[in-house]
Structure formats: C-alpha cells, structure tokens
Symmetry: C2
Subunit: 198 residues, 2 copies
C-alpha cells in the first residue's frame, strides 16, 4: 500500500488537528485546514468566517428563517449556500489529493476521496475528561458549560456529515485507523501515522 | 503512558491473531491465545476443544436442549458451564496482565482488564474481500459459503461479548486503537502497535 493522502476526522477536543499538523511536519507534506477555508473564500466570494462555520458544521441552532433562506433554492434545482460551499470544498480537496503528499483535516474529506486507494482515513477520539482538559487549555473557558460545548460541536459535525455523505460520522468502518488520543497521546498518535506511511 | 498489556480483538479473517503474534515477537513479550485455552482446560478439567468453542463464541446454533442443559443452573445460583469457563478465563487473563509485557488475543480481555490503565485495547477489522481471501488462504474452503462463515463467526463473537460484558463488540469506543488490516497491511499494523509501546 502506498499512501499519498491522509484525512483526519476528529472529535472536538481530541487534538486531531494538532496530530494532523505534526504528521504533515514530520513527513514534509502539505497541511490543509485553514487553507481550505481560505481557498473556498477566494473561489466563492463568501467571508472566511461564514465558510468556517458552514463548511463543516450543520447549523442546528439557527432559526428556521435562516435555514429556509439558505436552503430554499434546493427544491427548485438551485443550489443552497451549503451546497455551494460543499462543492467548492470538495473540488479543493480533490485537487489537493491529486497533487498528493498531503494531510487534510475534517470537511468530509474521507467521503469525498473514497474512490481513491492511496488514502489513509484516520479518526481521532478521546475520553471526555481528556477532551475537557484540552478544550480549556486550547480554547479557554466561555459562558457555555464544557459538556454542552462538546455535545453541540460533535452533534453539528455529525449532522453535517450525515446530510452531505449519507454516512455516519465516527463509525469505525468509515476509517482505516481510529485512535484514542487520550490513552495513546498526541505525539505517539503522530508517530504511528508516520509509521503507517513510511 | 506506559503500556504493559495489549489486547487484540478481531473480526474473523482480519489477521488480528497474526498481528498479535508479530507484535509479541517483536517486543519479546508473552503471547496468549491457545495458551489461555490450555490453561483453562487444566484448571477446569473440560476438554480443550469444548473451551475453544465456548470460551469466545456464543453457541447461537445449538439446540434449546443444549442451552438449557448448560445454562439451567444459573437461575438457582449455580454457575452454567459458560460462566465457569468465563470465570476461569478471566482469572488467567488477569494473572497474565499482572505479570505484564503480554499480548492477549480475544476472549473479552479488553473488558476483563478495563480497570487497568496500562492496557492498549486494539481492534482489527478489514473489508470483506480481504477477509474472504485470507480465510481461504489460512483455513481453506469448506462446505459453507464464505460469506456465511464470516457472518456466523462474527455474530457468535458479538453475542458472546454482549452476554458477558453487556457491551457492544466492535464499537470504536471500547478500544484505544482500531485498524483496517486490509488497507494498512498486517506487517504495518504490527509496526504501528510496536511504535505505540516504544
């Protein structure tokens, strides 16, 4: 097996993004995370903030009015804003994979690239205590209870994944490698992924 | 994290046992597979064949009469044969873990050792085509269609796991590491597990 592309899906607070960046650094590969947001913004003209929020997370808390306004066109064959972002993202992800030697974080890349046999799809998860600790360290406290932040963010990723892929986010068989970063540690997870590619 | 014990659960035909043996060889650790069957046989007086069949697989195809005969005592506080085997196995697995530096294949070891923080619980799975190929290579053909052999064996492991642990066999969060041996390859899977322990 020759791996040219690594996709990293992750639970909120599991350190998946950090692991992806470490792997890219160690392999000397390109790292796609914010880069995808920037490229979609340039391509589509939407603001980066809007793409970051709506290119990976379902807007489960937004008002019915907002959902109608962004989704109303779909039934008439007109693409919703979500669809436009998803399509632009998909194209950027496919182009990146075609160039090869890259690590891509989130954004349904495992599904978008499922026809390739040079991909290693990784899922990073962790126990709740480790996630809580990491979220406070990395993102700080805010006025929402930490358990609720975890639940909400995972749920929005799950709903987004389901609506664009039809599949179940976080189901083992969607990935080739699933790692508990709480037990294994971020550095070790990165070492093991590098070992897979070597 | 200091890992002293590796448990390997696996889909039928995924090569999980082989990966476990490779890891034990490379680390110079003890390998518990048939060894558990032998030890339970000595301890309990049951035949090895009987333990092999009933120490990891639910007897979903056996007659009601058989299930009654082995399970009838449970309601009266008398252990069934299954319980006796499970208890003897659990003790052997706990003793092995206490000695440390060992790889244990199957037999709900992940659950039995869930109170230890020096365990790495691994699950090995694979795509159906790779499993078919491996089953024919390793175990040969028999008069049962290969898909049915896969379905039956996984189902019996799943039912056994459920009845003794209450948990769901093959659910990501029961394990610290899950690997698709079809995509990654058996040798590479072993390399990566060794990397986790180093």
């Amino acid at each position: 097996m020759s791996i040219k592309v690594i996709t990293v899906s992750r639970e909120f607070g599991s350190g998946g993004r950090t692991i992806g960046r470490l792997v890219a650094e160690r392999l000397g590969w390109s790292f796609y995370d914010r880069e995808i947001v920037n490229a979609v913004a340039q391509k589509s003209g939407f603001a980066e903030k809007f793409i970051e929020e709506n290119g990976e997370y379902a807007n489960v808390n937004s008002s019915l009015l907002f959902n109608l306004s962004v989704g109303a066109g779909a039934e008439n064959g007109v693409l919703s804003l979500y669809d436009e972002i998803f399509n632009a993202q998909s194209q950027i992800i496919r182009d990146a994979a075609e160039k090869g030697n890259c690590v891509i974080v989130g954004r349904c890349a495992d599904f978008i690239l499922s026809d390739r046999d040079d991909c290693l799809n990784v899922f990073i998860y962790s126990d709740t205590e480790s996630r809580k600790k990491r979220i406070i360290e990395v993102y700080g406290e805010n006025n929402k209870p930490i358990e609720k932040r975890i639940r909400d963010k995972d749920k929005r990723r799950k709903v987004y994944y389901k609506s664009f892929t039809g599949g179940k986010w976080g189901e083992m068989k969607n990935y080739h490698l699933a790692m508990d970063s709480g037990r294994i540690g971020l550095e070790k997870c990165a070492d093991m992924i590098v070992e897979a590619v070597k």
